[in-house]
Symmetry: C2
Subunit: 361 residues, 2 copies
C-alpha cells in the first residue's frame, strides 16, 4: 500500500474498540475523525460513554458480521481471553490488541487451538501519565512508533487492516517478531521502569529533611516510578523471562561500579562517559533519528551589545539555534560562540551571518 | 534578619565572583540587578567577559581591601585551593563557594591551618543541562533551596553576608552540617546520577533497532546521564564515602527484586507500590511541599455536551483543575468525574459548581 494512494477506509469500517481507556478512546477518536464508524465497549459502561461523548465513537452495538476490525485495549491480564472472544464473536473481523507484551498472549491464544489467521498483535509506543478516556486524543499516536508482531498464521487481509489502522492513526509502522519485541521492551521500557522504582524505593529509607536538596534530576529519574502499580505488575508478570537477564546485567555492572569507586579518575570517569554514549543511542523525540547538528563558530568582538546584535541577526536569518557553547582563545583572549543549527541550514546560515558582518572561524 | 527589613546591601558591596560559568554568572547577574558591584574573574578571561556583557558584573579589578564577599564558583577539584587563595587575597571578605560536596573541601582547608572564620560553604540547588555563562540568569535561584554548611569557626558577620547573598538571589535558605549535607546529596543527587548512568550504559549493549521502541520513560530516566562526565567525576570523587553505602543498599534491593520476579503478584507488586510511595516523598516543584489536592466528585449526566459545559463552568469559576479521574457506578451505570483542586479553593469551587446546577457526591 504506497503512502500516496488514498487509503480504502472500507477495509476497517466498521471497527469495534474493546476497552475505552486512554489508548482505546484515542484510537476511536482517530478513526472517527477519519470517517470510520467506531463501536466502543468497556467492562465499565460509563468509560465507553465518556469516550463516546468525547468523539471516540458510539456506544451503539454493531452487527457482528459487519465488523471488519476489532482493537482490544483492555488491561494486560485479560488480553488473551478478550481477543479469543472477539475472534469468536466477530467472524469477519481482523483482531489486534495494543498490549505491551506479545509472546505470552500469542502462546495463550495458540494453546486454545484457535485459527489465528485473523489475529495480529500490535503495540503503539504512546501513553501518558494520565489514564482513562478523559486524556484521550485523536493525535496521541501521530509520529509515534507502532509495532506489529506477526506470527506464521497471520493472513494478508488481517495484516492490511492493522496496517491501515496504524496509518489512519498517523503512527509509524514497524514490525518485530513477538520474541524480539518483548526483548526490546524489556530493555527500553520495562527495565527503565524497574530502575526508576529502585531509585524511588530508596527514598523511603532516607531522612525526609534530606529531600529538601532534591533537584530536577531526581524528579526525572523517578517520574515513571509513580505509574500505576497494578498495570505494571501485569506487564512485568507477562515478560519475566526477557526481563530477568537484563536485571542481572545491571546487577553485574552495579557491582563493577561499586568497585570502581576506588578509582574515580579512571574507572568512574569511563563509566560516566559510557552513560553519555548510551544516551546518544536513543533516537530523537517522537522516533526521529538523533540529529547531529552542524556547528558554526563565530568570533565575538569586544564591543557592547555584540551578543544582542548577534541574536537579532540569527532571528532575522530565520535560524533556529539548537544549542550554544562558548569557546575561548587563551592566547588572543577573544571569545567564540559555537552555535548548533540543523545541518540542512548550515550553508544558508553561514552566508547570512557573513553578510551581516560576522567573522566565521 | 527578618524578611520585612530592607537588606543592607553595603554588607556585600563589593563582591568578587570567581568562575563565570552558569552559577557564577547567574549570581553576578542577581547581585548586579540588586545594585551590588560585582567583579568577575575566570581562568578563561573570555568567560568573564561574556558574563559581564550579559549583565553579570564587571571585569575591572577591585581594591582587594574593599571586597566584602567572595563567591567561588569554580570546578570541584580546584575549590579548596581557590577558596584558600581568596581568603588570603581579600582580607576583609567573607568567602563562600557553591560546590556540591562540602566535607572534603572543608577538611582540605582545615589541613592548611588557616583561620576559617571568614569561610562558610554553601550549595544552591540550581543548575541546568547547559553550562557556561550564556545560560546564566539572575532568576536561576529564585525559590530554589540554597544550603549553607556551617562549621565551628564561622564568624557571625560571615554567616550574615552569605545569608544576604542567598536572600538577594531569591533562594530559600537552609542549613546542614557538612556531613549531613554530603549524605543528603549522595542520596538525592549523586545516587540518581549513577542510577541514570547505569541505565544509559546498559543501552550500549542492546541492538540499536530495539531503541525504536523507546518512549518518554527511558528518556526521562536517562536524561541526566548525558551530563558532563568531567564535572561528575569530580563530584563523585569528592563524595565517595557517602555514596558507597547508598550504592550498596541499591544492590541489596536489586538482588531482592531479581528474586521477586518469581512472584510478580505479591513481591513485584509490593516493590512497585514502594516506588509510588517513594515518589511521594519528593517535595513539589521548586521545593514547595508536595501538595495533597482536594477532590470534588461530580455526577456526569447522560446528556450531550455535558462535559464541555462542565469545563466551561470550571473556567467561569476560576478553578485551576489539577487532575481529573473518571469513576463509575457499576449498578446505576452513571459516570462520575473526580476533579482535584487546591485545598484552599475547595469550598468556593463546591459552591460555584452547585450554583451552576451540578450534583456533587
Amino acid at each position: 500500500m504506497p503512502e500516496t494512494e488514498e487509503p480504502d477506509l472500507g477495509l476497517i469500517n466498521s471497527t469495534v474498540v474493546i476497552g475505552a481507556g486512554l489508548l482505546g478512546a484515542s484510537i476511536g477518536a482517530a478513526l472517527t475523525r477519519a470517517g470510520v464508524t467506531v463501536h466502543l465497549t468497556d467492562a465499565v459502561f460509563s468509560h465507553a460513554r465518556v469516550a463516546a461523548s468525547l468523539g471516540a465513537g458510539t456506544v451503539d452495538k454493531p452487527d457482528p458480521a459487519a465488523v471488519r476490525l476489532v482493537v482490544v485495549a483492555t488491561p494486560p491480564r485479560s488480553l488473551a481471553a478478550v481477543i479469543g472472544e472477539a475472534l469468536d464473536k466477530y467472524p469477519n473481523a481482523a483482531v489486534t490488541d495494543v498490549g505491551s507484551v506479545k509472546s505470552r498472549v500469542l502462546h495463550q491464544l495458540q494453546s486454545t487451538g484457535r485459527d489465528l489467521s485473523r489475529y495480529l498483535g500490535s503495540h503503539p509506543m504512546a501513553g501518558s501519565q494520565h489514564s482513562g478516556p478523559m486524556s484521550a486524543s485523536p493525535d496521541l499516536f501521530v509520529d509515534r512508533t507502532w509495532a506489529v508482531t506477526p506470527h506464521r498464521q497471520v493472513s494478508e487481509p488481517t495484516a492490511d487492516r492493522v496496517r491501515l489502522l496504524i496509518q489512519v492513526c498517523g503512527a509509524r509502522y514497524t514490525a518485530f517478531t513477538p520474541e524480539d519485541h518483548d526483548r526490546a521492551v524489556a530493555q527500553v521500557s520495562h527495565l527503565p521502569q524497574l530502575v526508576s522504582v529502585l531509585m524511588a524505593d530508596h527514598l523511603l529509607g532516607i531522612p525526609s529533611g534530606h529531600l529538601e536538596l532534591a533537584g530536577q534530576g531526581l524528579r526525572d529519574v523517578t517520574r515513571i516510578a509513580g505509574s500505576d502499580p497494578d498495570l505494571w505488575e501485569q506487564i512485568i508478570a507477562g515478560n519475566v523471562d526477557a526481563l530477568r537477564p537484563e536485571l542481572e546485567d545491571v546487577r553485574t555492572r552495579l557491582d563493577e561500579l561499586i568497585d570502581a569507586l576506588d578509582d574515580p579518575a579512571h574507572k568512574v570517569r569511563a563509566f560516566l562517559q559510557r552513560g553519555v554514549n548510551g544516551t546518544r543511542q536513543i533516537p530523537g523525540k517522537h522516533g526521529a533519528p538523533a540529529m547531529d547538528y552542524a556547528q558554526i563558530v563565530i568570533e565575538l568582538p569586544d564591543t557592547p551589545g555584540a551578543l544582542a546584535q548577534l541574536f537579532r541577526d540569527f532571528a532575522d536569518a530565520g535560524v533556529n539555534v539548537e544549542d550554544i557553547q562558548i569557546q575561548h582563545d587563551l592566547v588572543r583572549q577573544v571569545g567564540y560562540l559555537a552555535v548548533s543549527v540543523e545541518p540542512g541550514h548550515l550553508r544558508d546560515v553561514q552566508e547570512a551571518m557573513r553578510a551581516a558582518g560576522w567573522r566565521l572561524v
